[in-house]
């Protein structure tokens, strides 16, 4: 007669199911994700009740920081390359193919054309420092911002304009941006806001 032993329970846990779940979630996140765009500065947008979502493609973003610096960028690397080519040609700045490629990898750039070459040759970790981002000039004497928008429009006529500005941006800066757009007959654009609950709901 064999001795009756208390059967020891195995400590082995079947991880297969857990693995399934983990990879299911992973697949979900991989498919739905659109990566957060890297922005040179963090802005706090004002809130509004508007619930319209911004499209992801065909969009040019104008970023205005509280001190009034203007940044500009469009989506699509190939389009960006065409854009910087146009801008370099119209401001007679000679950029190498390598530098243009570097530009096409950046989401938003806020530098006047004359310092663009130096900016593109900076190492990536110092590029976001405030002293390296001078902002695109948008004054009536030297309106490079208007040129950016015009060139972007030539590269892709279906683009929509989105303005993302910080709450504390003084109005004169916004007016400068809006005036420049108005001069180009760009009268429809989007202001990016945070969602706020509509009253009475």
């Amino acid at each position: 007669m064999p001795k009756v032993k208390i059967k020891r329970k195995s400590t082995w846990i079947d991880m297969t199911a857990m693995c399934d779940v983990a990879f299911l979630l992973l697949t979900f996140f991989m498919l739905t994700s659109n990566f957060t765009k890297k922005e040179p500065i963090l802005v706090a947008t004002p809130s509004s009740i508007s619930e319209i979502k911004i499209p992801e493609t065909n969009i040019m973003t104008v970023l205005v920081d509280p001190s009034g610096k203007v940044y500009f960028g469009i989506d699509g690397q190939e389009k960006r390359r065409q854009l910087i080519e146009k801008m370099a040609a119209s401001y007679k700045v000679s950029l190498t193919t390598e530098e243009m490629k570097r530009y096409s990898l950046l989401d938003l750039v806020g530098n006047p054309m004359y310092s663009m070459k130096a900016y593109l040759n900076l190492s990536p970790d110092v590029r976001d420092l405030p002293q390296n981002n001078l902002g695109i000039p948008a004054d009536s004497t030297d309106n490079q911002f208007r040129e950016w928008v015009r060139s972007a429009r030539e590269v892709n006529p279906d683009m929509r304009i989105a303005i993302k500005a910080d709450q504390k941006t003084p109005y004169p800066v916004i007016r400068k941006v809006m005036k420049s757009l108005q001069e180009l007959d760009e009268n429809r654009y989007n202001l990016i806001t945070r969602l706020e609950k509509a009253p009475g709901k």
Partner: protein, 204 residues
């Protein structure tokens, strides 16, 4: 389960020992670790919340002079002047002899004022929204009727003038109030001399 158990437990009683088979059971723990690591990465790197936008249409600066300027009746006109320190001033009608009144961006301030001024339209829009919620109205029917209501000829016309001391938040707040109060006719205009004088007189 996915791991096939080929342990020799079941055959032990038979006494005959076969050549030892390697267990095909695989330890999944590192794989789970890896899976969750990647999930964490993707969760942190994605922006799940898409930003909201507010669509605005600015008047083209070309045709402004001929038709558009003459339409506004003095009785319908409301002028908002966005001042510094989150203050907002308003007056009705013409600039000459207008009295500036101070208010703020809170629901009791600007919104109350605009809703009173736009009472008819705001009430109709509210009714329409209720009806939509009750009867499951089609979206395009809703939009069409909304358009009809908003085309009201007697609705106020709002001019938003932002001074150099105001900030972007003030502007968006003011535009937002236009949406909340269902005001369809509004414009952001540059502040002109008579209005500038009004502010100076008020000494703000």
């Amino acid at each position: 389960m996915a791991d096939i158990s080929q342990d020799s437990n079941t055959h032990k009683k038979g006494g005959k020992r076969r050549s030892k088979k390697l267990p095909t059971r695989i330890d999944f723990t590192p794989m789970v670790d890896l899976g969750f690591l990647l999930i964490t990465f993707f969760m942190l790197a994605t922006s799940l919340i898409k930003p909201q936008t507010m669509e605005i249409t600015m008047p083209s600066d070309k045709k402004l002079n001929e038709e558009d300027k003459t339409v506004a009746k003095a009785s319908q006109a409301v002028t908002l002047i966005l001042g510094k320190n989150d203050k907002v001033f308003y007056y009705f009608g013409k600039t000459e002899g207008a009295q500036l009144i101070e208010t703020n961006y809170s629901p009791e301030g600007l919104r109350k004022l605009l809703l009173e001024k736009n009472y008819d339209v705001a009430r109709q829009v509210e009714d329409l929204k209720m009806e939509k919620a009750k009867t499951r109205m089609e979206e395009d029917v809703f939009q069409k009727r909304l358009g009809e209501i908003k085309a009201n000829k007697n609705a106020p016309i709002v001019r938003i003038m932002a001074t150099d001391d105001s900030n972007y938040k003030n502007l968006v707040d003011a535009l937002d109030e236009m949406n909340i109060c269902s005001i369809s006719r509004y414009a952001i205009v540059d502040i002109d001399l008579p209005d500038l004088q009004l502010i100076k007189d008020k000494n703000i």
